[in-house]
Subunit: 342 residues, 2 copies
DNA sequence: TCTTGGCACTCTTCAACCACGAGTGCCAGA
DNA sequence: TCTGGCACTCGTGGTTGAAGAGTGCCAAGA
């Protein structure tokens, strides 16, 4: 009974604080929520909640503000993921379905996510590691210059311009193209790279130098983690709504947004599987981001989370709404990747 | 004489204000610069400069602040582009030379520019319009799915996955590849697209539907202005140094950074040729960006400016330094594009 | 004619102060 | 266990006054 009401009070505090950005007092609380008790009773509950560390008082004569621990309880036990409206679902579907390629999917997703949640959205490009090699293409640009194109199962395309030591005939090129594809096509990135690196030994000695030159670049671009580290970011303008504490909250986040590696760690360690997960305030390792929360999830074709996406915002954020948006976008993107993989 | 000193005073005001961010008074001015006259004299000059609209007084008992007109005079007549140090030049060269592809060049440039100037940097991806078609590649992914790859002279690669209405043999594919390249390779984008659109009439009727399907996607991706509108942005964290007036200066700029189309107009209309140009404050069409300046230039292979790059910052910025950095980066990127085009 | 020192004046900034009100904690009574 | 009442705390907002920065102007000097 009493326990239940205390939780109801906590939920009401979180909801009101998220909506108003102001410490919420006992009177305002009973006025806005049907708690069925008097402010004095609520005050007693508040005192208990404060004792337990779920809420906190900025100063004696102010209302209460949820602590990180309070938000944690709220997301874990007091809220459910808000279902998206049919209109929103349709909007997501039509916007993402009209993407022309993988980059476009990622770009659209990140913009979509930021407008849906009105937060900063982050989408990691699908990683190479689990994807397979679909095709390797060689195009002679000049007799001593070859464009290498690596097409992956996720739809990702890597290109490199290679300077080769000697001229190469079209026949040589075609022959090499076949060899490369026989070795690597269909393989996972890592296996493909291994197979390719054995290739120079299997070609006629005359072609060996050339082959080696191209294979080196290929394996390099396959093992290159640069592309693992790519992320798209959108909605930085929403930081403007952070309101106060520019220095303590906005600046560190703006700096983090520039450092894609940091961002990746940030959303990567939050989202482990394909469930939407939340990291609140100081729960993360970055002390400078103590007043921000992360809502993230893995996404990818069925049963393999290729990458993560999510939003970053003030601890005072609409968790149910953000979680719903993140989940919905992740599902749609996963479905698109699924289709592309058939 | 007197005119000269007045200009010296203006220059001193601009320099001090840029350095300190505070209205500069007559005493501080004579202390920090060797003007050889007394504060009273400087005051007279200031009064004249204010009369002419070059400086302005926030309130009676404050120092002077340059107006946009004052900055304009400063960049046009009172400053020269600071030469880059040898170390900086080396840093630019080594960083950009180690880029692996066009995207990488752009990414590196924009980061470099933002760290050099400590401003928000913007680099437009080279536009398609002036570039020529280098090669068109077709790759069968499944019997009814073809990956179309369009390689341009700038090193840009566009890819599209196409669903075709009927199965296609390898021979058909090879044949079509040759036809496509005969029609478009070496042509400018626009001419190539025109030639391609005539192609379906020239193939055997049996192949016509298929050809049309692929040609449509190709011409679409060639005329698609999406890729013209791509820009890379970096250094948003530098906005933190804007200091005061978050709402009037930082927020509109943050919003503009999200709208790539706006950004492109912003730097596009500043930079007309390959000279570094400056737009100061309200000189531009965006009233919301009245307190920001843009330093931009065109870049590209010799004699053809393909795209623009530049920095955006507060009107109170280090113009000589920014102009030097913009010019230096533009030159290096142009050189790299030049080499890639041989 | 230009420059300079002096002086009165204006206006912002900062700190101190005070009244107000929001919100609390606690207690006695239902 | 809940509730109304009451004293208490403390931040907020407005006012006031002193300090300081900077100016404009004027008369005298070069």
């Amino acid at each position: 009974m009493v326990e239940d009401r205390k939780l109801a009070v906590l939920r009401a505090i979180v909801e009101d604080y998220v909506a108003t950005e102001e410490p919420v007092g006992s009177r305002a609380l009973v006025e806005r929520h049907q708690l069925g008790v008097s402010p004095a009773t609520v005050r007693n509950d508040m005192a208990a909640l404060e004792e337990e560390g779920f809420i906190h008082q900025p100063h004696t004569s102010a209302g209460r503000v949820p602590t990180d621990k309070g938000y944690r309880l709220f997301v874990d036990r007091l809220s459910s993921v808000k279902p998206m409206s049919a209109a929103e679902k349709r909007a997501i579907a039509t916007l993402l379905d009209s993407a022309v390629d993988l980059d476009d999917v990622v770009q659209r997703s990140v913009r979509l996510l930021s407008t849906l949640t009105r937060q900063v959205a982050i989408v990691q490009y699908p990683t190479l590691s689990r994807s397979t090699v679909r095709h390797i293409e060689l195009v002679a640009i000049t007799p001593t210059r070859v464009m290498l194109i690596l097409i992956l199962s996720t739809g990702r395309v890597e290109q490199r311009l290679v300077e080769i030591p000697a001229e190469m005939s079209d026949d040589q090129l075609a022959d090499l193209r076949i060899r490369l594809n026989q070795a690597a096509a269909g393989e996972r990135i890592a296996d493909g790279a291994a197979a390719l690196s054995r290739l120079p030994d299997a070609v006629p000695p005359a072609d060996r130098a050339l082959t080696k030159c191209l294979v080196d670049v290929l394996t390099d671009s396959m093992s290159d983690h640069r592309s693992d580290e790519r992320v798209a970011v959108a909605g930085a303008a929403n930081l403007a709504r952070f309101g106060d504490n520019f220095d303590t909250a906005v600046r560190p986040l703006l700096e983090a947004l520039e450092e894609h590696v940091v961002l990746l760690k940030l959303i990567g360690e939050v989202a482990v599987g394909d469930a939407v997960t939340v990291r609140i305030g100081h729960e993360g390792p970055y002390s400078q981001l103590a007043s921000t929360s992360v809502v993230a999830t893995g996404y990818g074709p069925t049963d393999q989370a290729l990458a993560t996406l999510g939003v970053v915002g003030p601890t005072r954020m609409d968790y149910p709404g953000s979680m719903a948006a993140v989940r919905a976008v992740a599902r749609y993107v996963s479905r698109i990747l699924d289709e592309g993989q058939q």
